[in-house]
C-alpha cells in the first residue's frame, strides 16, 4: 500500500508539473489526464472507490475529452512537436502493449465469474461487494459480460471524433 501510494503520488506531482510546463496545449491536456488518473488511484487506495471511479469517468473521461476537442477545433495545437521521440520509447510502447495483450489473454482463457444481473438482489449484491469490493462489482461485469458494448463504445467515440473533425475543421 505504502509503495503504491508513493508511486502514484510522485507520478501525480510530476505529471502536474509537466502539465504546466508543456508548450503544446494538447500535450498539457494529456498530462492533466495522467494527473487525474493518479489522483483516482490514490482515492481508490484510501478506500473511496466511488470517488475514484467518478474522478476517472467525469474528469479524465468526459471533461478532458471536451478540452481536447476544443483545443483541436480551435487549431491551438499548430506548433505541435512529437512527444514520442527516439527508438527507446517505441520499444517501451511496444513492450507495454505486448504485456497488456498477454494479461488479457490470461484473463479471458480461464473460467469467468457469473454475471451480476441474473442472480441479483440485495443479498447477492452485498455478498459480491464483500467478495470483490465496490469497484469489482462495477468493473468485473464491465470487462466481462459487457465487454462487447464497451468495445463498440470505443468505435462510437472514434466515429464521433471523425464526424466532429469533418464538420468543424476548415480544411480536411
Amino acid at each position: 500500500m505504502i509503495i503504491l501510494f508513493w508511486f502514484f503520488a510522485v507520478l501525480a506531482v510530476s505529471s502536474a508539473l509537466l502539465t504546466v510546463t508543456r508548450k503544446n496545449p494538447v500535450a498539457s491536456a494529456i498530462w492533466l489526464i495522467a494527473t487525474f488518473f493518479c489522483l483516482a488511484a490514490i482515492y481508490t487506495l484510501l478506500g473511496a472507490f466511488f470517488i475514484g471511479i467518478i474522478q476517472i469517468l467525469v474528469y479524465a473521461g468526459a471533461i478532458m475529452i471536451l478540452f481536447i476537442f476544443v483545443i483541436m477545433l480551435l487549431n491551438l495545437g499548430n506548433d505541435y512537436e512529437p512527444d514520442i521521440r527516439g527508438h527507446v520509447w517505441k520499444v517501451v510502447a511496444g513492450g507495454t502493449s505486448l504485456v497488456i495483450a498477454a494479461l488479457l489473454a490470461r484473463a479471458f482463457s480461464g473460467e469467468l465469474p457469473a454475471p451480476l444481473g441474473h442472480v441479483a438482489g440485495p443479498a447477492s449484491l452485498a455478498a459480491q461487494t464483500a467478495d470483490r469490493g465496490t469497484v469489482g462489482v462495477i468493473a468485473i461485469p464491465l470487462y466481462t459480460d459487457y465487454m462487447v458494448p464497451l468495445q463498440f463504445t470505443a468505435v462510437l467515440l472514434l466515429a464521433a471524433v471523425v464526424g466532429a473533425v469533418v464538420l468543424a475543421k476548415r480544411k480536411v
Partner: protein
C-alpha cells in the same frame, strides 16, 4: 460453409465464453477494421494536402462491404446456447445484415460522381457510411438493450454528420442540426425507457425479459414496465419515422446529400425496424395487450397521413421522403401481424423496399447537376423521352413502391396482407390497401409527367446520367426489383427460415434465475 469450419469456427457458440464473440461478431469486426482502413488509406493518399480523395476510396469501401458480406455468411447455421449473450446469433440477424450491406453498397455506388460534383469527395464520407452500417448491424442484431442503444448511437452519430456533410450548403447544415437535436432527444427517450424496463424486469437481456414476461407471474412492476415500453416506443418510432414522430423526416431527407437520404430511408429504417421486432414482437410479446393497440394506431395514422401529405408535394425528393414514412406504416402492419408469417413478410418487404428506394434515389441523383438539385416535378418533364433508360428505371422503381404487379413491391404487399389477415389484423389490411390506392396517384403522376409533358427547354436533360459504376448498381437494383416478383419464392423461403430462427428459444435458462430487481 465448411470454409469457416475449417478455420476453426465452432459448430455451436456459447457466448458465455468471450472468445466465441470473435465468431459471433465476425462481420462487425471485419467492418470496423475496414472502416478504419478506409480512413487510414485516405490519409496516406492525401498526406498534408487538402484535396479531393482518390477514386479508389469508394472502390475500397465497396470491397470492405463485400468482405463483410462474406464474413456474414459465417453466421449461417450458427446458434448460441448461452443465456445472456450480447448479440443474437440467428438467421434473422444474418438476413438483416445483408439488407444493411446492400443499402450501404447502393449508397456508395450512387454517390460516385455525385460527391465530386458537389465538391464533397472526402474519404471521411465513406468511412462514416461504414461506421453507420456497423451501428445498424449492432442495433438490429443485439440481444441486450444496452447493446441496442450503443448500436443506435454508432448508427446515428455518423448519420448526423453525413446529413450535414456539405458544410457549404445551408440547407444541409440546417437539416443536420434539426436531425441531431431531435435525434439526441429521442435517444434520451429510448435510454430512459431502457432504464425503466430494467427496473421493472431486472435485466436488459431480451431473452430474459421475454421469459420473465412469458411466465405470466406478477412481477409487481406493471406501470414501470408500461412507462418503459412507452418511452422505448417513442425512441424507435422516431428512428423508423412513424407519424407522429416524423416531423424531422421531410427536412432531413430533403436537405441531406441524396446518397445519404438513400441510406437513411433504407438502412437506418431497416435497422430500427429490426430492433423494433426484437424488442417489441419478441421480448415484449407477452405484454402485447399493452402495446399492440398503441402500435395499431401508429400504423394506421402513419399509412393514411403520410400518403395524404405525399399527394401535395411538388418536390420528388420530399415525395419520396413521405413515401418512406408511408412504408414505415406498411412495415408496422407486418410487425403487428405476429407469428412467423408476419416476420417473414417483414423481412421480404424490407429487402424489396431497400432495393427499390435506393434505386429511386439513384435516379434522383442522375437528374441533378453541378451544385443544382433538380428535384421539382417539372424538372422531370420529358425525362422519359429524352433519356429512355433513366425514365424506364425510374418508372419501375416508382411502380414497385406503389405496389404494382410485376414488381417486388406488389409481392411484398401481398405477403404483408396475407400475414395481416392470418394474424387477425384485417382492419389494418383494409387500411393498407386503401392507403396504397392513394399512393398510386402520386407515384403515377411522376411517370405521367416524365412521359407526357415536354421538357422545360431544348436539351434540358442533356447532362442527366450516372457514372458507369452507379449505372450498374441502379440497373442491378432494377433487375432485382423485377426478379423478386418472378422468383419471389426464393427470397421468401429464406425469409421464412430466418423468421423461424428468431423464435427458436436460444437456450434453457440456467437454474431458475431469481426474480430480480436490485432495488427491491
Amino acid at each position: 460453409m465448411s470454409f469457416f469450419a475449417a478455420l476453426g469456427r465452432p459448430e455451436v457458440l456459447d457466448l458465455a465464453r468471450q472468445t466465441h464473440y470473435f465468431w459471433a461478431l465476425l462481420p462487425e469486426i471485419v467492418l470496423t477494421l475496414g472502416a478504419m482502413l478506409v480512413l487510414i488509406v485516405d490519409v496516406i493518399h492525401k498526406g498534408d494536402r487538402s484535396e479531393p480523395s482518390r477514386g479508389s476510396i469508394p472502390v475500397l469501401t465497396l470491397a470492405v462491404l463485400a468482405a463483410t458480406a462474406l464474413a456474414n455468411t459465417a453466421l449461417f447455421g450458427l446458434r448460441d446456447v448461452s443465456a445472456n449473450g450480447m448479440v443474437a446469433v440467428d438467421g434473422f440477424r444474418t438476413f438483416t445484415n445483408f439488407v444493411y450491406l446492400v443499402a450501404a453498397a447502393l449508397c456508395i455506388a450512387i454517390s460516385m460522381g455525385y460527391l465530386e460534383r458537389r465538391g464533397i469527395m472526402k474519404g471521411e464520407f465513406h468511412a462514416l457510411v461504414l461506421f453507420a452500417t456497423l451501428g445498424m448491424m449492432l442495433m438490429g442484431g443485439s440481444r441486450d438493450l444496452i447493446m441496442t442503444f450503443i448500436g443506435l448511437e454508432v448508427m446515428s452519430v455518423p448519420i448526423y454528420v453525413l446529413v450535414g456533410f456539405d458544410r457549404m450548403d445551408p440547407r444541409s447544415s440546417e437539416a443536420s442540426l434539426k436531425y441531431f437535436l431531435l435525434g439526441a432527444f429521442s435517444s434520451g427517450f429510448f435510454l430512459y425507457g431502457i432504464a425503466l424496463v430494467f427496473g421493472a424486469v431486472g435485466s436488459t437481456n431480451l431473452t430474459y425479459i421475454a421469459e420473465t414476461l412469458g411466465t405470466g407471474t406478477d412481477h409487481g412492476h406493471e406501470r414501470l414496465l408500461m412507462a418503459g415500453m412507452a418511452l422505448t416506443l417513442v425512441g424507435l418510432g422516431f428512428k423508423v419515422a412513424a407519424i407522429p414522430f416524423h416531423m424531422w423526416t421531410p427536412d432531413a431527407y430533403d436537405g441531406a446529400p441524396t446518397p445519404v437520404t438513400a441510406l437513411m430511408s433504407t438502412g437506418v429504417k431497416a435497422a430500427a425496424f429490426a430492433a423494433f421486432v426484437r424488442i417489441f414482437a419478441v421480448a415484449f410479446a407477452d405484454a402485447g395487450a399493452q402495446w399492440v393497440p398503441v402500435v395499431w394506431w401508429l400504423a394506421a395514422v402513419t399509412m393514411v397521413g403520410a400518403n395524404l401529405v405525399a399527394l401535395t408535394q411538388g418536390s420528388v425528393k420530399r415525395m419520396l421522403a413521405y413515401s418512406s414514412i408511408a412504408h414505415a406504416g406498411y412495415l408496422l402492419v407486418a410487425l403487428l401481424s405476429g407469428g412467423d408469417t408476419g416476420k417473414a413478410a417483414f423481412l421480404f418487404y424490407i429487402l424489396a423496399y431497400t432495393v427499390m428506394t435506393a434505386g429511386a434515389f439513384g435516379i434522383v441523383i442522375a437528374n441533378s447537376r453541378d451544385g443544382e438539385e433538380r428535384v421539382t416535378l417539372e424538372d422531370y418533364a420529358g425525362l422519359g423521352l429524352e433519356k429512355p433508360w433513366l425514365g424506364a428505371a425510374f418508372s419501375i422503381f416508382l411502380l414497385s413502391l406503389a405496389g404494382f404487379p410485376l414488381t417486388a413491391g406488389f409481392l411484398g404487399k401481398l405477403y404483408i396482407l396475407r400475414a395481416a389477415v392470418e394474424g387477425g389484423q384485417a382492419q389494418l389490411a383494409v387500411i393498407l390497401v386503401l392507403a396504397s390506392l392513394v399512393s398510386y396517384f402520386y407515384y403515377l403522376r411522376v411517370i405521367v409527367v416524365m412521359y407526357m409533358r415536354p421538357a422545360r427547354s431544348e436539351g434540358w436533360h442533356a447532362g442527366a446520367g450516372l457514372p458507369l459504376a452507379a449505372r450498374t448498381a441502379v440497373l442491378a437494383a432494377c433487375v432485382v426489383v423485377v426478379a423478386m416478383f418472378f422468383a419471389g419464392a426464393v427470397p421468401m423461403r429464406w425469409a421464412e427460415q430466418s423468421a423461424l430462427s428468431l423464435w427458436r428459444q436460444p437456450a434453457p435458462v440456467a437454474a431458475s434465475p431469481a426474480p430480480a430487481s436490485l432495488f427491491r
